[in-house]
Amino acid sequence: MTPRHADVEVGHALPAQTFRLTRADLVRYAGASGDFNPIHWNERFARGVGLPDVIAHGMLTMATAVRVVTDWVGDPAAVVDYGVRFTKPVVVPNDDTGASLTVEAVVAEKLDGGLVRVDLTARSGGDKVLGMARVLVRLP
């Protein structure tokens, strides 16, 4: 059931989730999004420009992280504003396991107009990979 604005309290923690991102996921996202920057699929190129290895598209991390919110509300159209800073790259090794992305979310503020602000914390390999990750959600 979709949470109701009146029932949601500041500090409420949404169910956290852990996601896996493999090289195959990066290739699939490159195709679907049209972002074929080789740092997301070509190890030689990534290292050549000073990156530790192939890194995930920031946009794939962003899209994955907001799942914690859209799974909570049910209707993804409830998201009216979503912004992040990409603070550290999500490094994706060339193996079958890939990178792990753990996302926590907490209701940070209740606003007028049925809006709540949810703040996300996303971690991969011990690093916080998103900063200022804020989602405005409209609830009934």
Binding site: F19, G34, I39, P52, V79, D81, G83, V84, P89
Partner: protein, 152 residues
């Protein structure tokens, strides 16, 4: 190489109209491994009160990244794209994007700066239907990392 500061404030013509297709929304949902039925099942989307499939909250990147590329790939700007990583991204949505929407983006250069040798450019993409209805704004900050920097 410092960026050409005269780009700040510059606006570009609207992008070629992009028709949001159901299969593109489904493909994008698969690529982000999201099984939400509002992205896949028209009846499920209608049951939520929507006219057609809903695009995921970050779907607009499909339109707004090419709009930003108009700016950042312009050789006159002087950005080294091989060293570019995504710095920040934000979507303000006036309404959800639906299958069947025909959208264009007007890109504007919001800000150009240089911090510790990194060239940083923020573009704003105003997304609207071809009928002129505003749909949202995508803010995209790209960072061209300083050449002598170690691994990020």
């Amino acid at each position: 190489m410092p960026l050409d500061q005269s780009f700040a404030g510059r606006s570009y013509p609207p992008t070629t109209p992009y028709l949001v297709g159901r299969e593109k929304i489904r493909e994008f949902a698969t690529a982000i491994d999201d099984a939400n039925p509002a992205y896949r099942d028209v009846e499920a989307a209608r049951a939520l009160g929507h006219p057609d499939l809903v695009a995921p909250p970050t779907f607009a990147i499909v339109l707004s990244l090419p709009a930003a590329h108009q700016v950042v790939l312009d050789p006159a700007l002087g950005l080294d794209y091989s060293r570019v990583v995504h710095g920040e991204q934000r979507f303000e949505l006036s309404r959800p994007i639906y299958a069947g929407d025909e959208l264009t983006v007007v890109a504007t250069v919001e800000k150009i700066r240089s911090v510790a040798g990194n060239d940083i450019i923020t573009t704003r993409g105003d997304i609207a239907t071809t009928a002129g209805e505003p749909v949202g704004v995508a803010y995209c900050t790209l960072v061209s990392r300083a050449p002598d920097e170690g691994p990020a």
